[in-house]
């Protein structure tokens, strides 16, 4: 993924707008760059991924609040939609992960942020969208050979649904799949309460957990 150095000057304004969570400015800057002839792929790798990795670096030293992360997520989503109206091209350098917002909850900004972060880190991400029944989640996990499932929840009534995920995966022999939960409604719970492997403080924290599992740091 793109490092924090060697950022083309042309992309600096875009990165600043993204990190400020100013989605209008980020969109305007994206359109300007496209008109100037910059390929969409460069904007993603040198612009979006750089902004994401900077946010990630800051997240390790000081906690970001929900609003700031949601703002950046909204700006990044807007830029991606602008660049790829049909959806992001797939990339499976580092394995497959499934992201979803569960049945009963149609709010998927949190899930979209995790998706951006994971794509930025080079995973293939299967997005099951919002209001996703657990059966669909399990079937997709099996079909796509996913290593982990990441669930985001904005509404606290979704908690019981989250608790069913692991049992449903096990019932289909998917015991080895990691389950990570995050989002406004879920992060106040302990992993044991939700029956998940990890409750992420934010999208970056969740992605880092997946990274640690892949590198075998967490058994």
């Amino acid at each position: 993924m793109a490092g924090t150095s060697a950022v083309p000057d042309a992309l600096r304004a875009l990165i600043d707008a993204l990190l400020d969570g100013d989605h209008a400015a980020a969109l305007a800057e994206t359109r300007r760059l496209r008109q100037a002839g910059l390929p969409a792929e460069t904007i993603v790798t040198a612009g979006l991924e750089t902004a994401m990795s900077r946010l990630d670096d800051k997240c390790t030293v000081e906690s970001f609040n929900l609003l700031e992360i949601m703002l950046v997520g909204r700006a990044v989503s807007a830029v991606v939609r602008e660049l790829y109206p049909e959806g992001l091209p797939r990339d499976d350098r580092r394995g497959t992960l499934v992201v979803a917002t569960l049945e009963g909850d149609v709010h998927d900004l949190g899930k979209n942020i995790v998706k951006m972060v994971l794509i930025g880190k080079g995973y293939r991400v299967v997005d099951l969208g919002r209001d996703c029944p657990i059966d669909t989640l399990v079937a997709a996990t099996a079909r796509e050979g996913a290593r982990g499932v990441l669930i985001s929840g904005l509404i606290s009534t979704i908690v019981p649904q989250v608790r069913r995920v692991r049992t449903a995966l096990r019932a289909h022999g998917l015991d080895a799949v990691w389950v990570v939960a995050g989002g406004a409604a879920l992060k106040q719970f302990a992993a044991a309460e939700l029956d998940v492997d990890y409750v992420a403080e934010n999208a970056f924290d969740g992605a880092r957990y997946i990274e640690r599992r892949l590198e075998g740091e967490v058994p």
Binding site: L66, L67, H107, L109, L154, S156, P160
Partner: protein, 531 residues
């Protein structure tokens, strides 16, 4: 306000009070109750105190009857007969055993006006009394009334003991999936209602067997857990909008366990549907939200906040869970709005902060209203930005109240932002679905303990309340308890509740696409445009 110093086992505790109440009434709200066994007219003689300094007023006839001449010269008084108006110090001579029940804070509970006590009491009970119960997620409150005259006899409030199973409804519902935990949860709530009734009977000199009607309102989860009925269905999305049968109980067994009249009517008022409970219906009855054509908004702030919007012809309601920041403050320095809570924070002319503490001199935390004040003060001074970050990258704001030091952290601010956003987005969703701009509101009724102590200007400054003219905003206290009282006593209130049930249209926020953008918008600590 004058100050009352209470000596308990040699240790002084300072309370402030409003002149007019008896010393017993003042102490009944605090952690330092006196013994008693009558309604406070001097009949039992148990509420003895010694006046150590200050003015207690002339001895009343009941004191001359209950106390000896030497008692009187030693400064002994009956707390129920003294109405102090200036600073004084008293010693409680015969403290009662510890109890979790208190008189609710001043101004929190009330009996709504205009509802005639015309529901006939069950036959065969002499001097029948009834209890209106508001079973909240955090607190339980009861109001005891004569069923003959409608007169209010006593009130109590205390913690909902289910709190030890988790502070929010979802955690308790999940815990209740194990049948033995469900039983324990039901027992805890039922037992607490019985205890509160017994506390009233004992301390007010009433016969337990005179209790012949108990009317209970609560949010859906609380009622389902109390009755131990169908609470598992609330965990399924299909039931988030549907009516839930959760009010069928074995009344005779409950009456026996509580030691009240055998033929007592025990009524659990059915919830509206989904997570919107009968506490909301009771609240709307109490404030008569739907009478008249003026557009009105009702917000009952709590761990589970309930919101209703009346357009003048249509009633839209929803429930939204934003965490405990309103009821218990936030994080390390949070506390419920009880004795020792900082409930008001104001800026002083010299640039400092002034703190007001509820019913005690020793602060032990910041409750929801204090948190709102402090955050608004920090915003005005630009110590905190609209996104919830401290100036110059600070990690916290340290402050001292008396000798206690507190630290307000970024996490605490984030918790307030999330609770605020859940309510703000709920209001926005109702406004959108009803097609009613918030600027059209003629009334904004703010209910709940948190609302009781709220500073309106500060709440508007951080966007917790819509920016309508201050004169449109009513801070009304516990409307659920007031409405339960009306339902206990009045056929008119019962008819009104039935009408509301027909009218109310339930909105499930989980399926409102505008919720997410509104949630983000309301995370900001800045005024909401009343557009």
């Amino acid at each position: 306000m004058p100050r009352l110093t209470v000596l308990v086992q040699g240790k002084p505790h300072v309370l402030s009070f409003r002149p007019g109440a008896s010393l017993r009434e003042i102490l009944d709200r605090s952690d330092y109750r006196v013994r008693s066994a009558c309604l406070g007219h001097g009949a039992c003689g148990l509420c003895q105190v010694r006046l150590l300094s200050g003015e207690g007023g002339p001895h009343q006839p009941a004191e001359q009857f209950q106390l000896s001449a030497s008692d009187l010269t030693e400064g002994k008084r009956l707390a129920c007969q003294m109405r102090p108006t200036t600073d004084l110090t008293v010693e409680i001579l015969n403290p009662p055993p510890p109890s979790g029940w208190r008189t609710p804070p001043e101004g929190l509970t009330y009996a709504p006006a205009g509802f005639a006590a015309d529901r006939p009491p069950p036959p065969g009970v002499s001097h029948p009394v009834g209890a209106a119960v508001d079973l909240g997620t955090t607190h339980l409150s009861i109001a005891v009334h004569s069923l003959a005259s409608g007169q209010r006899l006593a009130e109590r409030w205390g913690k909902n003991p289910q709190g030890r199973f988790g502070s929010d409804v979802v955690t308790r519902l999940m815990a209740a999936q194990r049948p033995e935990v469900a039983e324990a949860l039901a027992f805890a709530a039922r037992h607490a209602i019985g205890e509160a009734i017994a506390d009233v009977a004992r301390r007010e000199g009433l016969d337990c067997r005179a209790f012949s009607r108990v009317t209970v309102v609560g949010n859906t989860a609380m009622l389902a857990l109390l009755a131990d009925r169908n609470h598992h269905l609330l965990l399924q999305p299909a039931y988030w909008m549907a009516p839930l049968e959760c009010t069928t109980i074995d009344g005779a067994a409950w009456a026996q366990a509580w030691g009240i009249a055998r033929q007592a009517q025990i009524e659990l008022v059915p919830p509206l549907g989904g997570f919107v409970g009968s506490d909301l219906i009771a609240g709307l009855v109490a404030c008569r939200l739907t009478e008249g054509s003026a557009p009105a908004l009702f917000i009952d702030f709590g761990t589970n906040s309930e919101i209703a919007l009346w357009t003048g012809s249509d009633l839209w309601v929803t429930a939204t869970a934003g965490g405990p920041a309103f009821e218990s403050g936030a994080g390390s320095c949070g506390t419920p709005a009880e004795a020792g809570a900082v409930f008001r924070v104001a800026e002083t002319a010299d640039g400092g902060l002034a703190f007001r503490v509820l019913d005690d001199d020793c602060a032990h935390g910041l409750c929801g209203s204090g948190l709102v004040d402090l955050v608004a003060c920090l915003r005005r001074r630009q110590r905190l930005d609209a996104k919830g970050r401290f100036a110059e990258g600070a990690k916290n704001f340290a402050f001292a109240v008396g000798e206690r030091e507190f630290s307000l952290g970024l996490r605490d601010i984030d918790a307030l932002q999330r609770a605020k956003a859940a309510v703000g987005a709920g209001i926005a969703a109702l406004s959108a679905v009803a097609g009613l701009p918030l600027a059209a509101l003629q009334r904004v009724v703010v209910a709940g303990l948190f609302g009781r102590y709220l500073d309106i200007a500060n709440a508007q400054a951080i966007g917790l309340l819509p920016s309508v003219p201050v004169s449109h905003i009513e801070l009304v206290g516990n409307t659920a308890a007031a409405g339960a009282t009306a339902l206990l006593l009045s056929t008119q209130a019962q008819a009104m509740a039935n009408r509301l049930r027909q009218q109310a249209q339930l909105i499930n926020l989980a399926h409102r696409p505008e919720f997410e953008d509104a949630f983000l918008e309301h995370l900001y600590l800045r005024p909401t445009e009343a557009s």
